[in-house]
Symmetry: C2
Subunit: 126 residues, 2 copies
Amino acid sequence: MPPRTTSQRAAVRTAIETANRPLSPQEILDLARKEQPSLGIATVYRTVKAGTEDGWLVPVDLPHGPTRYEPAGKAHHHHFECTDCKSVFGVEGCPGELNALVPEGAELTDHEIILYGRCADCKSNT
Amino acid sequence: MPPRTTSQRAAVRTAIETANRPLSPQEILDLARKEQPSLGIATVYRTVKAGTEDGWLVPVDLPHGPTRYEPAGKAHHHHFECTDCKSVFGVEGCPGELNALVPEGAELTDHEIILYGRCADCKSNT
DNA sequence: CTTGAATTGCGAATCAATTATCAATAAGTT
DNA sequence: AACTTATTGATAATTGATTCGCAATTCAAG
């Protein structure tokens, strides 16, 4: 009954922890298949779901596109999405005090800042 | 061949311009039906698509949920989404200089800030 | 090494949002 | 009022993301 350690779960986790940016299930699959060619997308979804419940993974939801996942434990940060390749990168820092923007009578509990533009790679491969 | 002015298109436009917040197609339908009870969701989607192409409407894409629409011409602003009722509200102001957060070598072209919390209505109806 | 349960990969199924189809209706020109 | 054609509403179809069902596989306890 206890969870088992399998090579596919290891491959998924390695892919996520090695990439230095949030990955979508499809991106995880592509990366992890270099280690585990037979890996299926369903296993990626299952692993990512379990990881989120177990707490070592954090889902990153942005407009458009699938949910991305990054390792838990990072300091407060936000994200940059390349409008070309759709890759998402974490960005350090936060402008801070956003309470001033909140509607009268409402209560702020969280926030997300999304930057859009072209990443370094896409700029060079013009 | 020219586009025609119909009561349903008028109802959709009125709903959007009357609400003081971005509306989803379903919300537009609900509001516009008070004026045009026979209105169908397909017409809302068609009108909203045309409005965006014509430039008098702006789509607001946030994580989760459908695209919302608001009248074009508003000053730079961001959005607040109620975690309870899912309503979205525009919020004035912007923390400003975000270039400092952009990844090395990347180019910033746009950004969105999303605030989450409970709106005034949901707080009172605890 | 056996064996039972957890896990996997595949394809079918689901789900929400949006678009396409098409016969019936209604602008607006003449 | 007649007529041409854009528009509409209902519903089927599509799309992209994610989950399910199940037989085959493989951990890992004994």
